[in-house]
Symmetry: C2
Subunit: 161 residues, 2 copies
């Protein structure tokens, strides 16, 4: 059993280049920044803050469709886990309960998080990934600067080859 | 039983304002243009033309995740149907087979089409919608101009309220 920690989807921020970053935070105040795409950031943003529920969408977006499909097929999102990082890419799995068993599906972390927020499913991170990606973020100054211009690229989601 | 026609996902084009339009076409050469968002257009584009399979993605995009979820839950996309247009918005349903029965899920047409292309599922349009939205498109000159600047807005997908 791999050690995992439960995290909250804490904040969405922009790095110094205007790229979207989702910050996950555990109970020990360790934060994991994951660079994500703008569409996935929007899908997370609209579900992250209760005040955004005022921004009602009249039609289901893609992650809403995915959540509805799971529900209609009799499944349930048990949890999602960011469980690996390799070559600057984070990996996640969606754990689905169906007919008394659990199946997993490979996913980008952003899709998994956007789905979890729609299904009230908890978000977990493997402890090794948390240790590898952990950055210290002051509570009132959330990663606004991001990495310095000459810093190496941080691990992100791999949008395309 | 509502009359429905099978269509092919014929082409992706841009209108005169650079907006993405997916063209559905039936066996009688009637074409239905649906204005869609850029992200959904990309999700359709990458699966529409075999030559784009060279553009391999290393990680699953959102519609790939949705297709994988359906497969892992034991479901199958039977077909998708663009079955209504109201207040300049097109509506679609994804028909899913699970345990010998069919369930349907409300969807934007673009998401349904992107999903159908990933699941080798046929695309249908209700005859009334086809009649209402049908435009004549020359085979070698696909809607390049789009509606004139002073034309009323064509029915589209409703991205947000």
């Amino acid at each position: 059993m791999v050690d995992e920690v439960r995290v909250e989807v804490w904040r969405l921020v922009k790095d110094h280049r205007g790229r979207d970053v989702v910050l996950l935070r555990d109970g020990r105040q360790r934060s994991l920044p994951i660079w994500i795409g703008p569409y996935e950031a929007a899908a997370i943003w609209i579900r992250l803050d209760p005040q955004h529920s005022a921004t009602l969408l009249r039609r289901p977006m893609t992650h809403d469709l995915c959540a509805a499909v799971i529900q209609r097929l009799g499944g349930r999102v048990e949890r999602i886990v960011v469980d690996d990082v390799s070559n600057d890419t984070y990996y996640a799995k969606v754990h689905l309960a169906i007919n008394g068993r659990t199946v997993t599906v490979d996913s980008r972390p952003s899709d998994a998080i956007a789905l979890a927020l729609r299904c009230d499913a908890p978000v977990w991170v493997s402890d090794a990934v948390m240790e590898a990606g952990n950055v210290v973020v002051e509570d009132d100054e959330p990663a606004a600067g991001g990495p310095a211009d000459d810093a190496p690229d941080f691990p992100s989601e791999d949008e395309q080859a």
